[in-house]
């Protein structure tokens, strides 16, 4: 059950100004049945004073969508169009004594319907410029699209930075996994290093190894070095680098350097390089960070 305020409940159970308005001169339609939220706002505007004489709504949606619609009509009645345009979605939410973070979009829909209805009255075209993603941070009601845009625009690489720029993740911290996923997704887009998205198919490697000719230790070492050298320019392009520290049988230890250190894609990079090495050598090898040498 949502934690709705008494005022939200009151406006849901007894919505004000619900139903079609007789000959409105400004109509705003927003939302769609596909999204589960749709609102038609109808206005009767006095052409002389541009005052909203009457307002009504028809809403398809949840409890808070209906309550927000009802609140909106009550707020704007008697206001001039310019005054009405100053009403923000937060004003609608505040008027209702608050909305749960998951439901703030209901107030946004109200604000958009108002803009659309006024544009319709003035004979202008109104465009929905607002794209909404899945809700990530419930403490501050920040969605995935906003976080992704900010991460991309500012080259953010850590959860802490995201919290500083958007507030997302700055509260209870339970959304950090979701924020890290967005960071990894964006990092992957402009990371040119080889990465392995899927687990290597288990049986494929031994089969290839059986077919490959045996290399001498020296040839094998050279092969590993050549393979890594070929990959280095790709990492250097992203201000990163890689160096071989030790080759111990099946285990090859490396250091990631520069921008690769602490990058969200570190594990994927190691995986990708490992795949290249397995292909080049025709045998299964493990690529490990040098920090694991002591443990082995």
């Amino acid at each position: 059950m949502w934690d709705y305020s008494e005022k939200v409940k009151e406006h849901f159970f007894n919505p004000r100004n619900a139903g079609a308005l007789d000959s409105p001169n400004g109509v705003g339609d927003v939302g769609s049945i596909k999204c589960g939220d749709a609102l038609r706002l109808m206005l009767k505007v006095d052409p002389e004073s541009e005052t909203i004489l009457d307002a009504s709504f028809q809403t398809f949606g949840c409890g808070s969508a209906i309550a927000s619609s009802s609140a909106l009509t009550e707020i704007i009645k008697g206001k001039t169009l310019d005054e009405a345009l100053k009403v923000s979605n937060q004003d609608i939410a505040d008027w209702l004594d608050g909305l749960p973070p998951e439901k703030m979009h209901c107030s946004v829909m109200g604000r958009e319907a108002l803009q659309a209805a006024i544009a319709n009255y003035r004979g202008e075209e109104w465009k929905d410029d607002h794209e909404e993603g899945a809700l990530i941070c419930k403490c501050f009601a920040i969605d995935a699209v906003l976080i992704e845009d900010v991460v991309r625009a500012n080259d953010l690489t850590s959860v802490e930075q995201v919290a500083n720029y958007t507030k997302a993740g700055g509260g209870c911290a339970s959304c950090h996994e979701g924020i890290e996923e967005i960071l990894a997704k964006v990092a992957k887009e402009h990371c040119t290093a080889p990465t392995a998205a899927t687990r290597a198919t288990p049986a494929a490697v031994p089969a290839a190894a059986a077919a490959a000719p045996r290399l001498t230790s020296f040839q094998r070492m050279r092969k590993i070095e050549e393979t890594i050298e070929a990959i280095r320019p790709m990492l250097q392009r992203d201000h990163g680098d890689i160096e071989i520290v030790e080759i111990d049988g099946k285990n090859i230890y490396v250091n990631l350097k520069g921008a690769c250190v602490g990058c969200m894609m570190e594990a994927a990079t190691l995986n990708g390089v490992q795949t290249k090495l397995v292909e080049a050598l025709g045998e299964f090898v493990r690529l490990l960070p040098a920090s694991q040498m002591a443990k082995a």
Binding site: F13, Q58, A65, T201
Partner: protein
């Protein structure tokens, strides 16, 4: 007037006999069943008895095939992760698009980890295509996980036949049966099902206890390692009181199985027919000829589910909806979308799920209460005029579910 509870697929009331049986285990019977002394010993015997009752309800061949867990989700996770760990040479999971999040969210996560996940689709009545399933099975299939009955629509999957097919491909078969256990007769020893999840609170036992059935001989790797409880397959001190409660609930479920499939079914049918006779543009979802006896999921076109629930709640009726209207995820239930229910109807799906405690008088009250609720919301819906849909919002929309 007393409120009417029609949300038994979400959770059920504890049977009074269950509560009575549990109470001593909070007071004088507090011992740890692993202890040598008599305090522990008695509790150990009580758990043994409960295990036998669950074994009987499931028709399991051995009582050691019953592993007590904390919930259905734990059982699901244990089953799927075990199959992957125990068979490293196999990396594919086959499941269905309409599973509970306990399975689907885990599969999404495992997919990111590199496993191959195949999600079988369903037709407009929620039925699987057995040819698609057969084609998906292969030498790399580690486990098939398909629910016995769907929590939203009640549609029953042919899990026994699916288990045979999985075995033929050398894969393990798991079924999330939390909705089916206690409502459908189950006899596991006659099937090829390797793993089955059940949840206590869906059959009048308390929350916080579940079972994983594990066929003897099926390869297994525990999720929780530690003490020797549950023969080392699920470490952690037993939730003795709840396990005892689940035992009684299992026994009660056996006793009421016939009632569930005659009387509860009759009330469900009466409720559904009563609502559909009065509300235009509404239809039942799922496979109505092959579903749980207690479940009716009705799609009301051009209204939104949460609004329906709030008004029903005000009228003293508790039901549930597949619609989850939250920011950015305004998608209706994944089950309704998988069945291809049009958006105009999917947002207004409402589930009524009965139990053996519901009465004829309650059904009459609900039949009377629902039509004005729908009418009230349609009146303020922009998609509804005086006589019906204002215009055809989805031109290609022609419901064929009647």
């Amino acid at each position: 007037m007393a409120p009417i509870y029609l949300d038994n697929n979400a959770t059920t009331a504890c049977d009074p006999a269950v509560v009575a049986a549990m109470l001593p285990f909070f007071t004088e019977q507090f011992g740890n069943p692993s202890s040598m002394h008599s305090f522990g010993n008695k509790v150990g015997f009580a758990i043994k008895e409960a295990r036998a009752k669950v074994q009987a309800l499931l028709g399991a061949e051995h009582d050691s095939e019953i592993i007590f867990t904390s919930c259905g989700t734990e059982s699901d996770s244990t089953a799927i992760l075990s199959a992957l760990k125990a068979q490293p040479e196999r990396n594919q999971i086959i499941t269905t698009a309409v599973e509970h999040p306990a399975v689907l969210t885990l599969c999404d996560y495992l997919e990111k980890e590199g496993y191959v996940v195949t999600r079988l689709g369903v037709d407009k009545r929620g039925r699987l295509d057995m040819d698609e399933y057969r084609a998906a099975l292969g030498p790399r299939t580690a486990i098939v996980s398909a629910m016995w009955a769907n929590n939203e629509s009640g549609t029953i999957f042919p899990v026994e036949a699916m288990a045979e097919m999985a075995h033929a491909a050398g894969a393990q078969f798991h079924t999330d049966a939390v909705q089916a256990v206690g409502k459908l007769p189950i006899d596991l020893k006659k099937t090829k099902i390797d793993l089955l999840s059940l949840s206590g609170h869906k059959l009048h036992a308390p929350k916080g206890v579940g079972v994983l059935y594990l066929r003897r001989g099926a390869r297994f790797r525990p999720l929780l390692r530690g003490g020797h409880q549950e023969r080392g397959r699920r470490a952690g001190t037993e939730n003795a009181a709840s396990i005892v409660g689940l035992g009684v609930a299992a026994e009660q479920a056996m006793t009421h199985m016939a009632f569930e499939n005659t009387e509860v079914k009759r009330l469900r049918d009466r409720l559904e027919a009563g609502i559909l006779a009065q509300v235009p543009r509404a239809f039942p979802t799922g496979d109505v000829t092959n579903r749980l006896p207690n479940t009716s999921n009705i799609a009301f076109e051009f209204v939104e589910g949460e609004a329906i629930l709030l008004l029903l709640n005000k009228a003293g009726i508790a039901a549930s909806s597949g619609s989850a209207c939250t920011s950015g995820s305004l998608e209706p239930s994944h089950v309704m979308r998988a069945m291809g229910i049009p958006y105009t109807a999917a947002h207004g799906t409402t589930r009524f799920s009965l139990s053996r405690y519901n009465t004829e008088a309650e059904m009459n009250r609900v039949i009377a209460a629902v039509p004005p609720v729908i009418a009230q919301l349609r009146k303020i819906s922009p998609y509804w005029g005086d006589k019906g849909p204002a215009e055809n919002p989805e031109a290609d929309f022609a419901p064929q579910y009647a």
